[in-house]
Symmetry: D2
Subunit: 243 residues, 4 copies
């Protein structure tokens, strides 16, 4: 069942292959008789993670169904080591579903972090921002339908007017409109994605998705999740000069 | 020097490595003494292309600087076998540059091709479409600056109002706003991209970019370009049952 | 259960994710409401294959356990779009298992196909070849154990002599020694592998593995297998000039 | 000019694209006007490396020509993010060139490091090892030529005997025979390769190649080389629990 994210979005685990025990099984093939001594699954998984023996983690695979705003997918799809099938706005009409931040998430530009946010706005200023966002989204979407010559039920509006091609009409839609996609990725690349996107440098909105996926990973592959937390997520890199 | 595409866009060849002769040199390493008999460069390149010996084409690399609308980059970046550096709307403010189709490119939805266009609209209907697109883009952009509390010269508008975080404000922008990026790809994957995106099934707007890139390839690697045309672009696949 | 290949080798399906129905499900997400009209699963899969809509096939994933000679894995691992865990000859001692061709597979160098075989040798000449191969393999392996100071049961031979490092001793082994590995690949890249390696241009030995994998695909995803056969395996590419 | 490695091997820089300044140029496109403040090239490159902003490093590309023993290429080609053209032992006859360790590199199996070496052997024991390796390599190679019915000059030996197919005859050759290949890789993936293969856990023989490539990188992209040394090579990862 889908985990709700950002109110109108979700992440849903559709299918998976392998998990902690498949990782161990794959690693043991590499080590052959050499693993006789290795104590237990947890120890082996932590060893693999600590030494960045990443290939066994690649044997596990997850398939998700995701609904997210376009500006989030623009960050998401920069991760090239995954397989994607996205809803096509050339084939089909996009629904009137947008992402609007909660008032408490509307924040000022950070001055020290060029790509980040500072404090949240006072409520009534946040409300003004929201009004603008909602207004523009609504008007753009209405014009989108207008160009398509369709009403919200997909019925033709004016029988004498042509419908603009969907691939053209969608040009009018802002990047906070929702899209959806299937996403297949192996566990190693997923952890790499999560390290970058569940991180404080990532934009809040994609972080919300990364956090939901972390819950899925924790259930699916708890030993790997724990090793990831210790050796990737919470780990700190000390440079040569700093040492 | 940049090749203009879609009026406000462009494709510019920044750098490259190798080309026809580097491909031949790489292929000859594979064949070792076995290539003694192979006639000439053109013959060898056509042979490689015909038999899909793709690895020598991977030795040549191209780096482009591109300016394109977001909805085009969304199709473009689905090609995962490339390296990308895109303008960040978290770090910087997007400029007021949009793509608007020429009137003659504004076409109706095709009824037999679910992802394509049919005939162009009559001029005055096209003009109405353009008015909507321009209007909405303009209003959305103005609100974007408003949220950023900036004027078009980057000066603060109201000293007493906070600037919303750029990463949030950009949410209001439609997908026909222009972005730019550096793109590095090897020649084999570039040809694969061109086959898919210079094809009649591709949306007109990305096809315009693919056509510009084809010009670059033709100058850069003329023998490969010719072989591509004959054995990939103009080639036809006959299925087993059809034979 | 493992499918025997080349007598001492095998291919074993360990796990999989998805299949024909998962492909259809993924494709329908892309098309959204646009697929309402699409008839049935078989029709959709054939359509996807014919038009090289490859991304839905990437949603299905297969994991194999394989045992094969090193010279076959050298060809195999050139396919980069897969995840591999191989037996490590640094950690563990390789077993005394080699590939020797059957007498009827020992053939002369083809004179027109520089990378292929011509007719099989007369039986007694084939036998002489086999004697050489077996002899050298046996001597090299015995010296390998000798360097490791081990007998065939892994017991130390001479208590007073050091064991050479495994990573060094294995240098003495010929490329027809058997190794084993886990292999995880998505269905699209698997089909690409099969087209190249179940093809008559591929070396007989890797073709034998590809044929075994084809059996697995046929059972696992019969509609995709059929579409692959018609539109990839048995299809013929006609060049532009030839048309 | 080629850098000699392991006596009969080498690494030769054939071509490259970009370098430190191209990386900076690419990064500045991402940051847009946001980089106005960033001081200098060195500072920016160190910043990118420290924060693992890896995409700008992918814009630089290197092409090498390498000669190495097969057992080294088996480790090398596991790095999938590169393009390779290797000498084909199906098309051509392999030359009689092998790798033999120097006596001082012949070491005992480490007992605490399952995949590593301990102390070097006493000279006369090392000599015995070398005698075995040389002997077996020589015999196997002679039989290889014998199966090919060729002498060392490529002339037919016995006009009445068929030549075994090259792809079969090579089966008799040990993994310390030399092969050669062209290798094209972007700088980020090259650094990843170097971190793993210039590391003390890597086998000495591939480390020798990695060290030669490091020299090339240092000349080609000195600022990146320095940042790599500080933030990747000499850096230490402290786990969450350890902190
Ligand atoms: C006309 C048209 C219509 C389209 N419609 C849709 C649609 O409705 N919905 C949709 O989602 N997409 C759609 N696409 C996008 C399409 O599905 C591909 O994602 C896109 O064309 C990139 O193609 P590619 O995967 O072959 O290229 P690349 O990503 O460059 O990949 C090339 C090859 O590299 C290998 N490869 C690359 N990355 C990986 C990886 N991570 N793992 C394994 N192998 C990899 C594969 O062998 C792949 O075939 C459409 C494309 C076209 C041209
Ligand atoms: C906080 C933050 C800020 C960012 N800011 C910007 C920005 O301003 N501008 C911008 O353009 N991007 C930006 N990005 C995106 C970033 O540059 C990466 O593109 C993205 O994070 C994907 O990371 P990746 O390349 O490691 O992942 P993947 O694409 O999943 O790649 C993982 C690894 O696979 C290998 N690989 C994958 N594909 C290829 C290929 N085609 N060829 C060779 N090797 C390959 C590489 O080794 C790579 O390291 C930002 C990302 C983050 C997290
Ligand atoms: C000391 C040492 C010991 C080793 N021991 C063993 C062993 O016992 N057994 C064994 O089998 N191997 C072993 N290896 C090899 C190791 O498992 C890796 O295969 C090899 O080091 C390549 O590393 P990589 O995968 O990070 O590099 P690359 O293949 O270059 O990949 C870099 C990144 O690109 C992305 N990527 C590349 N290709 C794909 C793909 N097809 N799909 C998805 N993502 C992709 C991933 O994000 C990956 O992390 C060993 C390596 C070292 C250094
Ligand atoms: C009959 C035959 C003869 C051959 N002879 C030779 C020979 O003489 N010498 C030789 O060296 N090889 C030879 N090969 C190997 C061949 O060159 C390929 O390396 C091998 O077949 C793998 O094919 P591939 O690259 O299409 O597959 P994959 O590696 O699985 O790649 C599939 C696709 O994924 C994408 N991709 C994967 N990795 C990357 C990456 N790192 N960067 C960018 N894109 C990537 C590309 O689009 C590629 O087309 C031969 C192969 C065959 C079948």
């Amino acid at each position: 069942s889908p985990i709700p994210v950002l109110e109108t979005g979700f992440v849903r685990a559709v299918d998976y292959m392998g998990g902690d025990s498949g990782i161990v099984q794959g690693a043991r093939v590499s080590y052959g008789k050499g693993t006789r001594s290795t104590s237990d699954d947890r120890g082996l998984i932590r060893y693999l993670m600590r030494h960045r023996h990443t290939s066994p983690f690649e044997l596990a695979v997850l398939k998700l169904h995701v609904r997210a705003p376009i500006f989030v997918t623009r960050q998401w799809f920069r991760h090239r080591t995954a397989s994607i099938n996205e809803y096509s706005a050339r084939y089909s009409v996009l629904e009137k579903e947008f992402y609007f931040p909660r008032p408490e998430d509307i924040a000022a530009q950070s001055t020290n972090n060029k790509q980040g946010r500072a404090d949240a706005l006072p409520p009534e200023q946040a409300q003004q921002v929201l009004d603008i966002l909602r207004d523009d989204a609504s008007r753009c979407y209405d014009h989108y339908l207008d160009l398509l010559n369709e009403d919200e039920n997909g019925e033709k509006r004016d029988p004498d007017r042509p419908a603009i091609a969907r691939e053209l009409a969608r040009m009018n839609l802002p990047v906070n409109i929702m899209t959806q996609f299937y996403w297949q990725i192996n566990l190693w690349n997923l952890l790499h994605f999560l390290r970058l996107r569940a991180d404080s440098h990532a934009q809040y909105e994609i972080r919300a998705y990364a956090d939901a996926i972390l819950q899925i990973v924790q259930k699916w592959a708890p030993l790997t999740y724990e090793a990831f937390t210790d050796y990737m997520r919470d780990a700190v890199l000390l440079s040569g000069p700093a040492l």
